[in-house]
Amino acid sequence: MSGEFVFVSCTVNGTAEELHVRPEEMLIDVLRDRLALTGTKLSCDLGACGACTVLLDGKPVSSCGTFAWQADGSDIRTIEGLADANGALDPVQQAFVDNSAFQCGFCTPGMIMLARGLLDHDPAPDKSAIRAWMGANICRCTGYEMIIEAVEKAVLLSEGAENE
């Protein structure tokens, strides 16, 4: 530990945050331990499994492999930031609920953020694009098909919402 701190200014789920972080502190530690956003889960700690996925300026990143100081000046979204203030779920969350696209749930926040990142990037991906994108994260429970179908469903839910 260097004892020196780095000043980080960022937005987390729409709220401005200003933090002094240690140089070796990871983004996931800040989210879980300082901001009490424990929905983001740590698993492999090597950026391989994706359980810790959050959106950094709209792009999915492993928060276990992202230094906290790298978040300076950026906009961060976590699983806690998807539902609106009234508790209405994001279409991706709603699709995961409707399609039973989770089991133990430990990968689910990361999977949902990964899918959110996809739909922000491409609102109407086809099934093969969904499969390729969702291949970034590990789920050991579901066998993936119900997750992929949930992302397809989220596309439909989003289109439906736009047409209302």
Partner: protein, 764 residues
């Protein structure tokens, strides 16, 4: 499929899971999220040697490091029974006389931060005397092999019934043998053909995403733990024994589990967390890394020699088998896995004679323990591969040979056993038809194979209790000890309760487990919840419901037979009487709770080989289609059709998730490298190097088809579904490979190297 009985309102429907919102919003609490003021963090020192005597250990420098509040070595075990295990108590909390594998726990530190704990570990000095290593089953069984345990550890052999037996220490590093025999061995003499084959099974690691984790604290004299466990009640009993502590002064609480697949049975992080909490007087969190999971628990690698005698017309006659399980460095659940691997090797077929031994061999590697399928995966791999070998030798279609020999619905598995409770032919026909088996392309690098995965479900002599409480306003508490590990048990059980009470699913809550007041359950394992706990839940619900009806009959001055419960009102003919005012009128304005208790346990039966008849039989039917590249040896999975029989699906979508999840998990041991050892050193034991199936590995032709045959012992005819579809995967794919390229591979995983070697060996 998935037809809903017109009489059912909640059961059989795809209601949103009870844990849906918490798990999709990040609100669900897991043990990793539990925290207390002043909580310390534990880290352990692990052995760099596969086998060594512990000459000396000096932790004095570590004790004075910044932030360190407790250090535990073998010198800190006074007053404890410091070893634990299932049948055999051989695993120490920290190493006492020896270390037995790379990663064995030598010492533990609790400090204010994980970094401080790690820094302190580096100041512990250990002197080892290196001992010879046995890294494989063959090495461990050799005549002059060094013994992992020179003295016999404390342990038991359980009572068995007709034809079954257990034994200990029959050879070098042999910690347990399960045997089963029935019929006359002379049956082999009359066979027209005898087939003898050796099969080798791979060693997967569970790779549960939530690590092994426990938070422990002393609440006065109460050992108070939050832990990620599948078996909190047996854990409480084991901790009471280890720590010489009254069982009612140990409280185990279990938040949501980030999966387990078997790994989270019995002690893992708990003893060290408790020991350090006692030593420090502070709450202690012990959370392993993924790398440490690989050094804590694995599946059993296995060698299976199978000898099968058949008649010229394809009739199965006799089977004998010898199985050697690689148990790793400690016995753990190996005796239980041996029992299941041995007992399941016959498969669901008719035999006149069976004679099977399954031995657990200790090696200087990660301890092997419970893993989804529990010996059945190993047994099905060998059994269902050999059936194809036999079929091809006899010039028979493997599908037809199975159809000829499978057990009928209701037929006893072996003498003294319960009847098979699925129509096996219907299941096989279903997956074969779905995959297009009859019109398949066979040969020239493309082929198809089928398999019937099989296991007994419900555990052995497994008791479970449940309690249902209904409040004045009709809110329902369902209290039972099945853990929500991802399988959807909160949802399924709540659906059953809602159905029986003629009320809505959202009226029922299933509180988290706390051993201080949750009714006893032996563990969330053995595909037992729907068929065992489900019956206890049904009984508890009906008892509570009866009390409500009896109460209402008394208040309304009529016969109870005239009344029906309709949500939270009493219907009497055309009249509807809301219950809350009736309850408060009698019990007072603060109200009352109606309670019901339920219990399930299979009857003891000495005629049954395992001393209770099997509660139910679980199957997974599989059909695989592959394309094999002869140049690269790569197997391209084109189709994988799996099917389980839920009896009556309580929640069809949840059942689908179980079938597909177990099937894809089963792919790991077939098409991925699994745990790779260089001698006794695991070389891919981390999340980056260890490959599990990803979404991109799943073929477009992967599909599950849920059957509801209606013969299960659970509520509404429900059956277990959590493990079945894992079981046929390896053999179905290997059978498809032979169909495609005419070579038989008897060793898992089916790596490109093995495929190429098999092609070379066949001289093609």
């Amino acid at each position: 499929m998935n037809e809903i009985s017109p009489n059912l309102r909640v059961v059989g429907r795809d209601v949103s899971r009870a844990d849906a919102v918490p798990k999709t919003t990040g609100a669900a609490t897991y043990t990793v999220d539990v925290s207390f003021p002043g909580m310390l963090h534990a880290k352990v020192l692990r052995s760099p040697h596969a086998h060594a005597r512990l000459v000396s250990i000096d932790a004095s420098k570590a004790r004075s490091m910044p932030g360190v509040h407790a250090v535990a070595t073998r010198d800190d075990l006074n007053g404890l029974n410091p070893t634990y295990g299932y049948f055999i108590k051989d695993m120490p909390i920290v190493a006492i006389d020896k270390v037995r594998y790379i990663g064995d726990t030598v010492a533990a530190v609790a400090a204010e931060t994980e970094l401080q704990a790690v820094a302190a570990l580096e100041r512990i000095t250990v002197e080892y005397e290196i001992l010879p290593v046995v890294a494989t089953v063959d090495e461990a069984m050799a005549d002059a092999a060094p013994e992992l345990f020179e003295d016999e550890p404390m342990g038991i052999v359980p009572a068995y019934g007709q034809g079954a037996s257990g034994a200990r220490r029959l050879g070098r590093n042999n910690c347990y043998r399960f045997s089963y025999e029935t019929g006359d061995a002379a049956a082999f003499d009359g066979c027209d053909h005898i087939f003898e084959d050796r099969f080798v099974f791979s060693r997967d690691q569970h790779f549960h995403l939530e690590p092994f984790v426990t938070v422990a604290r002393m609440d006065g004299n109460v050992i108070d733990i939050w832990t990620s466990t599948q078996s909190p009640f047996p854990l409480r009993k084991e901790l009471a024994r280890v720590f010489q502590h009254p069982e009612n002064h140990i409280r185990v609480q279990v938040p949501y589990l980030g999966a387990g697949y078997g790994a989270k049975n019995n002690c893992k992080t708990e003893p060290i967390a408790v020991l350090l909490a006692r030593l420090s007087g502070r709450p202690v969190r012990f959370c392993m890394t993924t790398e440490e999971s690989f050094l804590t628990q694995s599946q059993h690698a296995a060698i299976l020699d199978v000898k099968t005698g058949v008649m010229a017309d394809g009739t199965f006659v006799a089977r004998s088998g010898s199985i050697w399980l690689d148990s790793g460095a400690y016995s753990d659940a190996s005796p239980l896995v041996a029992e299941k691997a041995g007992y399941r090797l016959p498969g669901p077929y008719n035999w006149q004679h069976l004679n099977i031994d399954c031995d657990c061999i200790l090696t200087n590697t990660t301890p092997a323990g419970p893993y989804r399928g529990f010996g059945g995966t190993q047994a099905s791999w060998a059994s269902e591969s050999q059936i194809d070998i036999i079929a091809r030798a006899l010039g028979r279609d493997p599908y037809d040979l199975r159809m000829q020999n499978v057990k009928e619905l209701g037929q006893a598995y072996v003498p003294g056993e319960s009847g098979i409770d699925s129509d096996l032919r219907a299941g096989l026909k279903l997956v074969a038809d779905r995959a297009g088996y009859a019109d398949r392309v066979s040969g020239d690098g493309r082929g198809m194979g089928v398999s019937i995965g099989f296991k007994d479900a419900g555990g052995v002599n497994k008791p479970t209790q449940a309690r249902v409480r209904i409040t004045t306003t009709g809110a329902v508490y369902l209290e039972c000890g099945s853990i929500e590990i991802g399988q959807g048990i909160h949802t399924a059980m709540s659906q059953i309760v809602a159905e029986l009470l003629n009320t809505g699913f959202d009226r029922v809550i299933y509180p988290g487990l706390n051993t201080d007041h949750t009714p006893f359950d032996q563990g969330t394992n053995a595909s037992s919840a729907v068929i065992g706990t489900g019956q206890a839940v049904q009984q508890a619900t009906l008892e509570a419901k009866q009390k409500v009806l009896d109460f209402a009959a008394k208040q309304l001055g009529c016969d109870v037979d005239e009344l029906e419960l309709d949500d939270w009102s009493i219907r009497k003919g055309n009249e509807s009487h809301p219950l809350p005012p009736m309850i408060m009128g009698y019990y007072g304005g603060t109200g009352y709770e109606f309670t019901g208790a339920g219990f399930f346990k299979p009857e003891m039966d000495h005629a049954a080989p395992l001393e209770t008849q099997c509660v139910s039989w679980e199957f997974g039917w599989g059909a695989a289609e592959v394309e094999v590249d002869r140049e690269t040896g790569l197997i391209h999975l084109k189709q994988l059709v799996v099917s389980g029989d839920a009896g009556q699906a309580i929640n069809p979508l949840v059942c689908r998730g179980q079938d597909e999840g177990s099937a894809v998990m089963g792919l790991t041991g077939v098409l991925f490298p699994c745990m790779v050892y260089d001698g006794a050193t695991l070389i891919n034991g981390n999340g980056l190097d260890y490959r599990v199936p990803l979404a991109t590995d799943i073929p477009d032709g992967f599909v599950s088809v849920l059957q509801e045959q209606g013969h299960g012992p659970g509520p509404y005819g429900a059956k277990s579904i959590g493990e079945g579809c894992m079981l046929p995967i390896a053999s179905a794919i290997a059978n498809a490979v032979e169909d495609a390229i005419g070579v038989r591979i008897r060793e898992l995983p089916l790596s490109p190297e093995r495929v190429l070697a098999a092609i070379d060996k066949a001289g093609q």
